[in-house]
Amino acid sequence: MKISALIFLLLIFAAFSYFMARQKVSTAYRQRKQKSKILTLPKYFGYVAALTALLPALLMLFFLQMAEEPYINSEISNYIVNSDIEANEDLDLYLNDIKSADTPEKVAALTPEKQQVYQRYHEIETTTNRTITVIVLSLAILLVIWGMRRINTETPARRVFEKIIEGILLLAASIAIMTTVGIVFSVLFESTRFFGEVPIMSFMFGTEWSPQTAIRADQVGSSAAFGAVPLFVGTMLISFIALLVSVPLGLMSAIYLSEYAGSKIRAVAKPVLEILAGIPTVVYGFFAALTVAPFIRDLGQSMGLSVASESALAAGLVMGIMIIPFVSSLSDDVLSAVPQNLREGSLGLGATRSETIVKVLIPAALPGIVGGVLLAASRAIGETMIVVMAAGLAANLTVNPLEAVTTVTVQIVTLLTGDQEFDSAKTLAAFALGLMLFVTTLILNVIALHVVRKYREQYE
């Protein structure tokens, strides 16, 4: 039976179970004739009965389904090994050939030997499939019957249902957490492999970055140096430029929006500003590479400066524009959250609006504003696309914003795109970089969270 059909059947069982249990309990209630006492609603007994039948059966189906593929593979392999068929190809590829034959034409196109294996494969598959169906369905039926007999008016149905809901919510929460933990561990694990090949000190403090490793000894230009300092300096340079652009602009637009703009302007301007955050970064990227970078180069040349056609300045400027909404939107929120009576208190003492903003509102909202800036900073550090397109790939160790630099994220992209083998120092370096990046943004986020939490204690 197809899985979808099986699940549909299980749902029908569950629905049946629900109605039966509800019926049973309401009948019992009616016979008792205790009108005055508050009783658990019959539908909760229905939910519990339905879920006791459905959840274990679904779980069983899930595990059997997971086990099915390895089981079939090992059975077929055994069959091939035990019979006289010569699998002179790789076994995986051989199996793949057979499994992909899902139409009669494709089966007919196989070699006679493979057709024979295919027959066997088909048999095994059908049997396992049937077994699974039988196991799951009988489990479900047993559970329905068991549930029917067990459920009575004394069952703590509401509490059980609440527990089940809690369990489902916990599961949902843990999936996100487990994924994060999994990613962290995989990055950590690959990084330690990298640090096995390249000493951690020369990675963190080396000043030369040239990850091309030599495959043959006589290759030229493949020195393989993994000093990450130029990348981090480049990242910091570009992020710094971006913050230099976004913090003043974002803060000032937030102040305008929350303190000066009328409600009509605000209703239009705020969403428009937030659209900035919705533009795909690749669009910013070509804007940076095709418009801003040449403009800066020409401007620099007219002033007698030598500007690279891909410069940190161009990338930083455009990235700064991109993260304005992070600063402005959050700052606007925290400024608006400052109680009106503080504003009135200051105005009532004869302060002007700008005095009130500078002396009362910004100090009161400062932690929230800092939180927004740090969020923008971690966004800037993690940004890739704009830098790939506008700042280049050259790992120059420089703080001159007019030169081409590269960042951690860009190098990760170049290390991992294209055909790669996943055990060379070159590709493993990406994980080490990722780890560093992760730790950096994590620290920034922790600081931001901490600051924001402190902010809540400020007034009131």
Binding site: N341, G348, L349, G350, Q458
Partner: protein, 291 residues
């Protein structure tokens, strides 16, 4: 002070709603203001003031004089416009977009609603204390020094120190906080916070102080202290106080104005208003028939 506390405790809890239904049930025609709205030496003169929130008229034709160095109490049921009227006196309503004020308001004979008048300077002359204590999230010292710093009232640090101490002393708070002037003002108790706000206001040396239910968020003991303070402050300042507590109005004010549905119903000597009100609405309000 004990008497004040007892009075406050004895005051019945009045439900915070009034308005159309009571107006209908009372079925009383509005007349011109009863009593003596004008005085000889007026600090503030308001003539035929109308206030609108968008299309909603909140104040109807209020004419009232506020005398030099007097304490005048504005009383009336919730939503009667007394706070709105108070906020027109230092143009605090300017901060509300949809609010529009018509009529004439003269401070020392000068119209405060002309284009020439800077509302910021006006508010330095007409200070305000709010219903809920609103100290800035700064130190006690910085709270009081805020106004003087903005207006450049002192030439150096020691003058500022003196002014802060003087203001806190006048507000009856200095003894309690002198050892912790660097502690945040928000850490004080509600009553202390309100006295800090009063200290902050008098540090700017205003001529008039507007108080919008300054004790409504405070316990009876703190309320008594605030009332004591008002009695001392009236030596130097003209005080307009909005209050929900009629006992409070009776204790602190020389004149009382009764507002109802945006209209000024009756003004008079406080004693006369509470013992022998001239208007039926006033009588019904002070005897607790509604409010």
């Amino acid at each position: 002070m004990n008497e004040a506390v007892l009075n406050d405790l004895a005051e019945p809890n009045k439900p915070d709603h009034a308005g159309p239904e009571t107006e209908d049930s009372l079925n009383i025609e509005y007349t011109d203001t009863v009593g003596q709205p004008l005085c000889e030496e007026a600090k503030i003169r308001t003539k035929e003031v109308n206030v609108y929130y968008a299309d909603n008229q909140a104040i109807h034709n209020v004419s009232l004089d506020i005398g030099e160095n007097e304490v005048i109490a504005l009383i009336g049921p919730s939503g009667c416009g007394k706070s709105t009227y108070l906020r027109t006196l230092n143009r605090m309503n300017d901060t509300i977009d949809i609010c529009r004020v018509e009529g004439q308001i003269l401070l020392d004979g000068e119209d405060i609603y002309t284009k020439k008048q800077d509302p910021v300077l006006l508010r330095a002359r007409v200070g305000m204390v709010f219903q809920k204590p609103n100290p800035f999230p700064k130190s006690i010292y910085d709270n009081v020094a805020y106004g003087p710093r903005i207006h450049g009232l002192t030439r150096n640090k020691s003058e500022l120190d003196d002014l802060v101490e003087e203001s806190l002393t006048k507000a009856g708070l200095f003894q309690e906080v002198k050892d912790r002037l660097d502690a945040p003002g928000t850490g004080l108790s509600g009553g202390q916070q309100q006295r800090l706000c009063i200290a902050r206001t008098i540090a700017v040396q205003p001529e008039v102080i507007l108080m919008d239910e300054p004790a409504s968020a405070l316990d009876p003991i703190a309320t008594a202290k605030i009332e004591e303070l008002i009695n001392e402050l009236k030596e130097n300042f003209t005080i307009v106080i909005v209050t929900h507590s009629m006992q409070q109005a009776a204790r602190v004010s020389q004149r009382t104005a009764y507002f109802h549905m945006g209209r000024l119903i009756e003004v008079g000597e406080t004693d006369q208003i509470f013992t022998n009100p001239a208007h039926e609405l006033t009588e019904k309000y002070i005897t607790g028939r509604f409010g």
